[in-house]
Symmetry: C2
Subunit: 267 residues, 2 copies
């Protein structure tokens, strides 16, 4: 009898809807986050806490010198949602402490307008929000579509974001799991599938454009050409160039163990 | 004869002063950067490009929506120096492209007012500037003193920052080398030495303080307690607690290879 009760209770617990926290870095009004909400809204109890303005390229910035605000909004047709005055990482911290008052089952970030493969993972607010969740023991994923435009076609991205979230919810994930998911600009039917990859070594060859303002003073615009130095076939850049969705598991222990060993012998 | 000439040329090249780029995140007027300049100014040709205002907690943020400016300043008694309107990472990018017009031999960042051990490496503008340099194939180090105060005693930190820079300049370093150097608040004579470490798994237990503004609206201040979950003796936190300068070699390939392998079998 006791065993039966336990079993029944276990089933009830299992059937509880997972709580899915959604964040992004393009801001709460971006089409990308609307598409992510639409893609997964029936998979759990969805709560959105996202920046009230674009926060691209903010990396893992946090707000320490100013207070933050949260504004309840309703852009997602009945989904609990808040616009936050802070960075993507602030959104995750505030969501856990002041909105959910507990940890969600997973945190998903995006869908970013533009690629976050290779070295972009380091500059990306989308990915930093996902990393922040994982530091907080919340398995997470960041989703990015390889199209910067405001009217990008998210149809393929929606299908694959949902697939990855279903995989995450049906797998017993390590608590520090972070997935960097990039999606090529293709209809879902043309995407070849999901490929687990390593981060390509690529970078931007910087070239600041120098201009002169009406007062005769110089200013500089950041620009640069993306160059991939990593020609191996197990990278995210290769997978995307070949029609796959790339998934790079990401870690936040930045220790370079092999260099540590070498320097221990030298110094 | 030809060989002699070559040898002479080699010696001449070897004797060329190394170019040392100095950046920070506390801003160009912070005592920490002044102490770093003083500690190493005779070891090479020093050039400073640092933010014109405090940029703590900016992580790897870059400025993409606004132009940047550089202002030539002279706070370091004859050392070439520029105040930059951007983030610490912007400073490195602009220094290479528009100030030095080439890559320096090394880039050093700091001395930060406050610890950047363990998980702090991810939020730190000081460390992100060093990582940015390494992405650009410039061996780098970030230095941090475990004291936030404006009138902190940098005497021990100066001695050890110089020691690490001397080690860097006398070692053939991998081009992607990044060192996260933290220094305890002790006189140099009480510091036990330098210890190569791994990054401790530690984090902040967040607790936003909620207040109400004069218009009756809520706002939140980020606060939190630092908790170290990693009790092993090879971490930076252990080394610092035991009177050592901690040096963690840092990498920017964030791929979690063991998780990649696991998920390849599962998905």
């Amino acid at each position: 009898m006791a065993t039966k009760k336990k079993a029944a209770k276990k089933t009830a617990v299992k059937k509880k809807k997972p709580v899915i926290l959604i964040v992004n870095d393009d801001g709460i009004t971006a089409p990308g986050i609307r598409n992510l909400v639409e893609a997964v809204r029936d998979l759990g109890k969805v709560v959105v806490v996202a920046p009230d303005k674009p926060q691209s390229g903010m990396g893992h910035a946090i707000t320490i010198g100013h207070p933050l605000r949260l504004h309840k909004v309703d852009p997602f047709n009945g989904i609990e949602a808040y616009a936050c005055t802070g960075t993507p990482v602030d959104c995750v911290k505030l969501a856990v402490d002041k909105v959910l008052h507990s940890k969600p089952d997973i945190c998903i970030s995006g869908i970013n307008h533009g690629a976050n493969h290779s070295i972009n993972v380091i500059y990306s607010g989308t990915m930093s929000a996902a990393v922040e969740a994982a530091i907080e023991n919340i398995p997470s994923a960041g989703f990015s579509l390889l199209d910067h435009s405001i009217d990008a076609d998210f149809s393929g991205a929606k299908v694959y974001a949902r697939k990855v979230v279903e995989l995450m919810l049906s797998t017993k994930l390590e608590k520090h799991t972070v997935l960097n998911v990039n999606i090529p600009v293709l209809p879902a039917s043309h995407i070849k599938g999901i490929k687990l990859c390593k981060q390509a070594y690529a970078k931007y060859e910087e070239d600041f454009i120098e201009r002169t303002d009406p007062n005769g003073r110089h200013y500089y615009w950041l620009t640069g050409e993306f160059v991939n130095f990593d020609k191996s076939k197990d990278t995210d850049v290769w997978a995307l160039n070949n029609g796959y969705v790339s998934v790079v598991p990401v870690q936040f222990d930045l220790t370079n163990y092999s260099l540590k060993e070498k320097l221990e012998k030298l110094w």
